[in-house]
Structure formats: C-alpha cells, structure tokens
Symmetry: D2
Subunit: 341 residues, 4 copies
C-alpha cells in the first residue's frame, strides 16, 4: 500500500527539471588540515540542484535543467559533464555579459569539521532571467525542483516564480528543496517572505528544522512542532513535507495524516557535507518509482550515507544498484537500520 | 441593501495605513506649454499612496502611513504636511543613508496632454526595509493599502510582503491599488509575478484593464474579460475587484456575483492625471461607512472629477461635504450621471 | 604696463570652453525662510562652469562648452538657454542612458544663511566620457576651463584629463577653477591627488584658501602661506594663481613675483552664493582683453558683488557696460574701493 | 663604468615596496590540454607585483608590500607565503568588507598557447584605499614599485598616486612596471591618462612596445620609435626606460643617451607567461647592486628564461646563485648569448 500522494507523469519527455545553482567545486586533495596548507584541488561540478540532477541521472531518470553558466572553460566543463551524464542542457543559458561560475573551495579539517569558501560575486547562476524560462520545457517535464538559493536574488528569484506559475498551469509537480545558504540573502525577513511564497505553491517540501523555522519566522515564530509545520503547508498545496534533524534522522509527513521517521545509516564520515543532495535525489527517485514514502526515505538516507564517505558531491552519486547493495550490506551488518515508524 | 462584503473594524486606532511612495510634486505654474518654457513650479506632496492618505484624512478617516522620507528639507516638508492633515507619521522612517525624496515635475501641455518628469534615483520611498514594518502598527489598523509601485524594487518589495503577512495574521483588510508605473520595474514578467502574488493575498483590488492585463500576463495572457479576471481573484481571497476603463467608466465586481458600472462625471479637465487617487480614497471611504458598492463607486467618481479640474493631486483633495455638494450640483445640471447598473 | 603673463590666442574660433557641470537651479521665490515653508521655485540654468559660460557670453566672448545633459525637458531647457546666449552647444552630449540633470534647490534663510539641496544621483554631467572630448574642438579654442567638480568622478574625471592633454598639445590655455563641493568625492586624499595633478597642468588657477589647502593636503599639509602655495605651482606651468579669502578679499599672484590684492565691493547681500562664477568670468574677460591683473581682479570683484545682490546665479550675469557702470557708481559713493596693492 | 643613473639608498629599512595585486594562481597540473579537461590544480601565490616581491626576496633584498588581501583561508595563505620568504607584511591590509582574493586559473594548451581565466569581481587588491598608505613606510624604503593594474580602478588608483606623492617627497625611487591587463580598465583613453601621469612621476619605467603605445595614445598616437618614447619620459623624471619586444629581446634606454639591447636566452618553454616578473626583479636587483644597465638586463633576461621553463610564477623564483649558474651554463652551451650592444 502506497502513501505516495503525488503522482509523477511518466509520459513526459523529462522526469525532472532542477532549477538553480550550477557551479564548480574545488575540493582540497590534502585533507584533515586547514586550507591555508593545502596544495592541490580537484575540480568537480557542484551546486545543490546540479548535484541532484547528476544524482537522478545516475539513478536512471530523464533529467533536464534550468540555469545559467559562464562563457568560459569552467562553464563548458560543467555543460560537458552534464552531457556525459545524459542530462539535457538545452535550457541552460550561456551568459554573455561576463558572469562567472560560482566556486566552492572545500576544506576538510576533520571528518566533522569542514568549511566552504565561496566565490559568488557576479555569479552566472543568479543571472537567470524570467525570459530564459520556457513554458514548453516545464510543460514537458513531470516535475520542477526549485532550489532555495535560486530565490535569494533577482532576477533568478523572479525566474523561479515564473517557472512555478508555468508548472501550476501544466500540472508539473513542484518540489521545493530549501537548501538555505546565508550568502546572497539581504535579510531574514526576505528569506521568510520568499520561502513561504514558494512553499505555498509546492507539492513536496524538503528541508531541515532550522530551514522551516526561517520560513515561519514572520507567521509563527514560536512554533517548533514538525506536525504544525507540515499541516500549515498541507493547507495550501503540499502533499509531502520532509523535515530533517541531522544525526537524529528525518521525518516524512504526508497529507493523509501519516508520518515516517528514518534515521541515518551508520557510516564512516569523510566529510560533513554533500549528503543532502544525494538524499533528495534518491528519495525523489523512490517516489517516481511509485514506492511508498517510507521506502523512498530509506533509499534517500542510504544514498546520503554513501556520499558523506566520499571526496566529491557530484562525481560520487551512486546508481540504483549501488544504493541497493549498500542497503543490503548495511542490514547484514547492523540489522534493519534506517526506518523507525 | 449592501453588497459590501468586506468589513472594516471600527474599533482600531487607525482606519487605514497606505504603504509606499511619498514624494514631492513640482507642478508647472505656467500651463498649456512644454516644460522647456515654464518658469516657476509649485511644490506639493505627491505619490499615489500619499495622495490617498491625504484624501482619506480630508474625508475624516484616521490615517497612518508606512514609508520612508529623506533627511532634508523636502522630507521634513512632507512630514509636516501629513501632520497638518492629522495623519499619523510615527511609522514613516527618516532615511539616514543619503536617499532623496522622489520628485515629479508635472507638465501640462494641454488639458489632455500631460507628462511627468520623474527623479527616482536613490529614492527614499523604495528603501523601506522589512525591519521598518511594525506588526503592532498593522494590527492596530482596520486596513492596509499596498500601492503597486512599492513592489517594484527590493527592499521595499519585501517590506510590503512582510506587511501583508502581518495583515493576514491580524485580520487587517488588504487593499491593492495597482498603480502601475513602468520605471523601477526590471521586466514585464517581474510585474506579473509580484502583482499576482499580491492579488492572491488581497481583499480589495483596484486597477485599470491594462493593469490587470499585466498581472495576468503569465497565467492567462489571452484574457480580456473583466468577469474572468474578477472571478480569478475571488478564488483566492478577494471580495471586491474594481476595473477601470478610462473615459468609459469603471466596474466594481463583488464576490457574490454582482457588478456595478459607473461612468465619469462630466467635468472641465485641467489635467489628465491625479483622478485615480481621489477615486480610491473616496471609494474606500464609502465602503468604510458601510455604503453599498454602487454608492461608494459614485462617490469615488465624483472626487476624481473634482481632482482633474484642479492644479494639484494632494492639496485639492475634497471633504465629504464638498464631494456631496459636487454630486448634487452635477445631478441638478446633468441628471443622474454616474451610475449605470 | 601689463603683468598679464598668459596670452590668449585671438584668432581661434572660440575664446573659452568651460568643461563640467550644467544643471538646473530651482531657487525659492519666498526668501528669508526655511525651504520646508517655501511654496514656489523659479527655474534657472546652473552649475559653476555653466554660469561662467553664460557670464563670458554676456561679456561678449565667443564661448563653447564640453558637457552632458539629460534627454528630457530640463536638458533641452539648458541647451535652449545656452543657444539664446550665443553659446556653442555642438560639444554638449545628450545622454541616452537615462541620466538626469543635476538639480540645486536653493534656500535663502537670511542674507548670510543660505543652503543648497542637491539632486546629483545618476547625474548627466558626470557621465561625460573621454571619447566625447574632441581634440579639434579644444584646438580651436583659446582656452579650456576645468571646473573642479568635474574631476570628482569617473568617467568625467578622465574626460577632463584627456581634454587637458589635448590643450597642452595645442597650446590652449588651461584654467583651473577649483570649485570644491564635497559631494561626489570619495575621500580627502582623492581630492588632493586630482587637484594637484590638475594644478600641475594649468596656466591659471583660481580658488579659495581652503581649496588650496585641500590641494596641498598630501604634499605640504602644514602650509598656510599664499606665497608658498603660488610658488609651488609656478614651478610647474602656472603663470597666475588667484587665492580668495572671503570677505577679506582675494590676491592675485603672478609668476614674475608680483601680487595684487583686491577687497570686495560694498553691496547689500541678497544671498551668500553665486559670486564666484561672476568673479571668474569677469576676471578672465579682463585677462583676455589684455588688461593687467589688477584691473582684471577689480572687474571680477565688481561682477561678483552684482551677483550676490540678485536672485539667480546665471540669469543675472552682467554685460561689460553694466559692470563698468557699477564700478563707477561704487567709486562715486565710496571712493576707490576695490584695489589695495 | 656604470651607466646606472638611479641611486638606491642602502641605509633604509627596505630596499623595495611593490604595490598592487596579490592573488592566488591555480595552475592546471595536467598540461597540454584545454582547461575543460584538466582535473587538478596547484595553488600558488600570484599577481605581478607579488611575484616581483617574492623574486626580490629570493635574490636577497629587503622587501615590503602595500596591498590588500581577503579575510579568509586564501588571504592567510598569501600572507603566510610572503612571511616564509621574509617579506614584510605589516602594510598589507586584511579586508573586512567581504572582498575576495583574485584568482587566476592558468591553462597551458601547448608551450606557446596558454590562457588565464580570471576571477576579479569584488577583488581585495583593488580595494586598497589612500588612507591605507603610510607615508612613513614609503619614507623607509629605497624604492616603490607601482604595478600598472593597480591603477585600473578606484580606490586603488588613488592609493597609488598618494604613494607616489609620498615617494617624491622622500626621495624614494619610483619604478613603474606597466603590466597591462585589459580587465578592470573602462576605456583605452583611461589607460592613456593614468599611464602617462604615472610615467611622468617615475624614475624607471618598464614595459612592452604595446604598453608604451597605450600610454602614448592621446599625446602621440603615430609614434612607434623607442627612442622618441624614451626621450619623452626623460623630459620628466625618468632616468631608465626599458622597452620589451617579445622574442626579439628588449632595449634599455638611459637618460645619458645610451641604449643597451638584450635578446632572450635560448630555453625550452613550458608556458608563455610569468617571465616578465622574473625579468623585472632580477633587473632591479642588478641596479640595486650598482651593476651597469647592460649586466642588469642580462641578469633579468636569464631569470625570465628560467621562469618560463617552470610550472609556477612565484614558487620558481631563483636565487642569485641559481641565476648566475644558469647564465654560465647558457654561455658554455651557446656562447655569449644575451647582450648585443
């Protein structure tokens, strides 16, 4: 019996179109030391929605993307990388006004202490404009994923709202992956305004407790109940709300009043970031396959565990077979680990 | 029998709080010639929501304002003017970072040919910030009026959405006066996005046919039916939608399925602008008095006629007695003129 | 016997080309009160080099101008005004990117207490670009006058230096009218850097003691001797340095080691600004006529006295006949007043 | 017999203070391919004046620096690197307003085809302000080196001119290394204006023929004679002018009317950039040692040859011993190679 209340059209050209950041990660090769002392970096495609796109492509889904890249070697690197993974890049605009790819230098001081040094001035991804968004493209996809950072600045912000209007018009499922990053945002009130506007238009919302608190800062600043939060958005359009609590696991709420709790897989951490995008892609994969929410959450949690044990956030995205093997092995080792209903 | 479906609390400290532009009009004293040839200008307070605030104060209502003025002689002039009319200025912020009052040089080439030369760079009114908006102030007002131009740029845009969130939380009536001005807006898509977001949250919406077309540009670009437009917003929160058609008059739609048409009063035009703000204030005055929509529209139309025959947009705002005398005189002269149901 | 060490070519098409600000003054008609309480304003052309251009045209000189005006009614007003005075406007660029004319609202609280409220955001005059400067135009003028405010921001700053390079190449006399206004400048060090660069290239320098102090802030911050100042610039290219001391009059230094002191004419002040531009134009007129420095300074001082007794800074610029009559009358009344050698 | 007409004080705390860019180079480890296909990068300190600082420190000189770095891991990396080489960093400001280190991704497609992808938005080095420049620091150095790119934007531009004013005041030798980079500059006229202003104040000027052409674009656009160029600046303050002609070598002109030609050392190129900074540091080292211009040029040329055969632009800077050995070995192999008088 499935509690999957969202139905993804299977007859459309694309299964999902993530929208937002696509950048370049420069990951320190010498780890467990401060970046002042690292000597070499390895280049990967990065940015949360780009990672999700790669993740879903590895899982076998038909993936597009709406975004903007620089007109230089790093922009072409990202486009090539996407194409090699079979991601449709027809709606990624090449910026002609001198914008740059965002850079993220990652520093791994210890398995639990990481940091990211961002280069986000004049960044191509936030220059996507309303006119760059094709109604036809969104009509031809089963779902649209809005990554929260794309809402942080104009004109990218308005481009997202235009995309959402088209999605509602053509019954394209709207997924909101909150992905809060303090840079780019002008004020906490601004975050609250645009997060709640987006949440009102979304079918599926995924975020941490802290991210939902930001979203509710104006309308209900005292609340810290996951259930109250989930129900608030069920009053609009949402059917599934996933709220993450770090090491304590995450809970998936569904509009039919049920909830499913999943705890993290035991894993040897290499770094403390990168799990969220793997989680989102594998969870959404499950929903698209018609799995119930419980099983989808477990699949997401497994993929997240695989990612935090690896050096990159995109290149390490696993296939379905790899995730299944990982789960099987974990269960053999630790018993049934992920799901506590 | 009243078809007034919106109820304004009469027990709150303020009847209405307009939000947005407050500037200085410099009206050419020598009219019927191009501005190149005018020699002297008279200074008035201006800006659509400021005019509405003055209009409603003259009609005897308790009026506040949310806005931002410059820290100079022109900013103080505007604050003094408001205070002389009994408008509460406690929530008008004095900008401390060098912003200027917006200026509007008006040029009257002929009764039907006017133009406005705007000074809107680094303008104080668009610098109002989310943190400048007091939840308490909005809670203490029966209604909040959002003027469309305040949505055209950050941070004023977000300040408006914060104010609307507070208004919904405290059952403060939200009035959206579209007041489209092309300056400041980055694109037509941006206009459509923020106008429709605001319309979804509003109880009363007032605008011209062209303004509603801008609002619907993404979701229903082909539509030109007023009824379709009104019903769209009745599906959200709106109870009254007023659509203006210039010389052919305007129509008030109500959520109970009725509509009321009003045509302009015959009047000797001095200038072709300034009527809209008088219309809005007198119409809202009628609704607040518990008059039916029909009578309120007629009252608005009369006040508009009085304004376009005068030199200013703010100083000429009439009292209740003056509007009533104007209507009486017009009816004696022309028969019953304004309303065609 | 003349100590006029600068020779102005009389065979060129133009006698002088001022470069820099051209704006609109809005002078309060109701004087002796704060601007908060004034009702009407009269519009004049303004801006120091524009006033000098008008002043020299009234004195019968052939005048051009290098500058940039807005593409609107106020820009056309300024161009028309110049043309009516016979000033060549062929090298005034009409801005096509939405810049505005600078505005100066003048407030006369009392004869000695005035203030000016500036509108200088996105101002056309500071948008003049190096490519707008014609080598031919400067070659065809006997002199180029650089107004200090034009040095306060790029690209106007670089346009001035380009003009000065052309002037040196073609033996066009360079006059530097310091005209310090704190707005636009980023720091005192910046002022010092560009003022001293300009002074090094100039034949005639005119400014107040305070302005020369700004110029010397890096190289000789302790100095307050006019003689030391004058000699510093004589070591470069300067031949005449005029240093103004407000009510105590001004001193003209010449490279041959002489100096001439002139005190202000007795006059009933209407306002405390506007005299400087009249002073500069009448003084330069004298030099161009081949008068000695002493007589030229007296002529400048007389014109300044006439201006501070009138309502505008441009419209009141006198003719040669009027200045001469003023001097004659003053001498009859007060004895020989202006010159103390 | 020495034709070294510039004398460097040996009694000051520092021998040289370069001013301008300090950034991070990210050099592709996989060479002879486009950057789209490279995987890893090695991190070096970069930026022309930073390279010169390192170069001179390796040659045993007492080196300071005036600049600005980011308040993050990359900024600290650069400061640490300087300190390890014994460079005084007391006058390098740590930016507190969110500026970033400039990045230069270098791509070596073939030994003769290289390119650099720049990240220069909101870059710390161009934010150095006039008030960051210490008169005392410049007084305590024998020489100040201005790197041309530091002139490309305010406030760095004005900071350079302030530094030059102090240098002239205290007889600190001014060296102008033109180092033209098109980014940051607004127009060719701007380049011409500020290059020629700087050249007028400099004792030693080093640049390529193309760079001198840019400098002379306004005052003598037709000229392509090195001798005319050198003599132009000898009329101001210059004593030595070095003009580079790529593979054909370079010529040093001295104010006493002599000139010295040097051709490049034969070398196996790894990359086509980085030689200039080695050239400048070794040439200046020679002058400071009191060598004649000829020998100094040869020393510079040798160091340049060593650099283009290595992977980095800073780390590979040689010691005196290494350069001497390189020259000796080259002469044994090829005969006397560098100098043709």
């Amino acid at each position: 019996m499935s509690s999957n209340l969202v139905s993804f059209s299977t007859s459309r050209k694309l299964d999902i179109v993530p929208m937002g950041r696509i950048g370049v990660d420069l990951n320190a090769n010498e780890i467990n030391r401060p970046m002042e002392e690292t000597k070499t970096f390895t280049k990967y495609v990065g940015g949360s929605p780009a990672n999700i796109a790669i993740g879903m492509a590895r899982l076998g889904k038909k993936v597009g993307f709406i975004g903007r890249v620089s007109d230089d070697q790093l922009g072409r690197f990202a486009l090539n990388y996407f194409r090699n993974d079979g991601i449709d890049t027809s709606n990624i605009v090449v910026d002609k006004e001198g914008a740059s790819m965002g850079l993220a230098f990652t520093e791994i001081k210890s398995p639990t202490e990481s940091s990211i040094l961002m280069y986000r001035d004049n960044v191509a991804d936030l220059k996507i404009e309303p006119k760059d968004v094709s109604e036809e493209y969104i009509k031809n996809s089963a779902s649209l994923l809005i990554s929260g950072t794309a809402l942080s600045k104009s004109p990218s912000r308005e481009a997202c709202f235009v995309a959402m209007e088209y999605a509602r018009k053509h019954n394209t499922v709207i997924i909101f992956d909150i992905d809060y990053r303090p840079y780019s945002w002008a004020s906490k009130e601004e975050v609250a305004v645009y997060y709640s506007m987006t949440a009102k238009m979304s079918d599926i919302i995924i975020g941490s407790r802290e991210e939902f608190d930001l979203m509710e800062a104006l309308i209900d600043p005292e609340n810290n109940s996951d259930e109250v939060t989930a129900n608030r958005w069920f009053d609009y359009r949402a059917k599934i709300v996933v709220i993450k609590h770090g090491k304590e696991g995450s809970i998936g709420y569904t509009k039919d009043g049920k909830s499913y709790k999943v705890k993290p897989f035991p894993v040897k951490l290499l770094k403390s970031f990168g799990g969220g995008d793997a989680y989102a892609s594998a969870f959404l994969y499950g929903l698209m396959e018609g799995w119930d929410v419980e099983k989808s959450l477990e699949f997401g949690s497994a993929s997240a565990a695989m990612l935090v044990a690896s050096h990159s956030c995109s290149e390490a995205m696993p296939t379905v077979k790899e995730v299944k093997e990982f789960i099987k092995k974990a269960e053999e080792e630790h018993g049934e680990v992920a799901i506590k209903s």
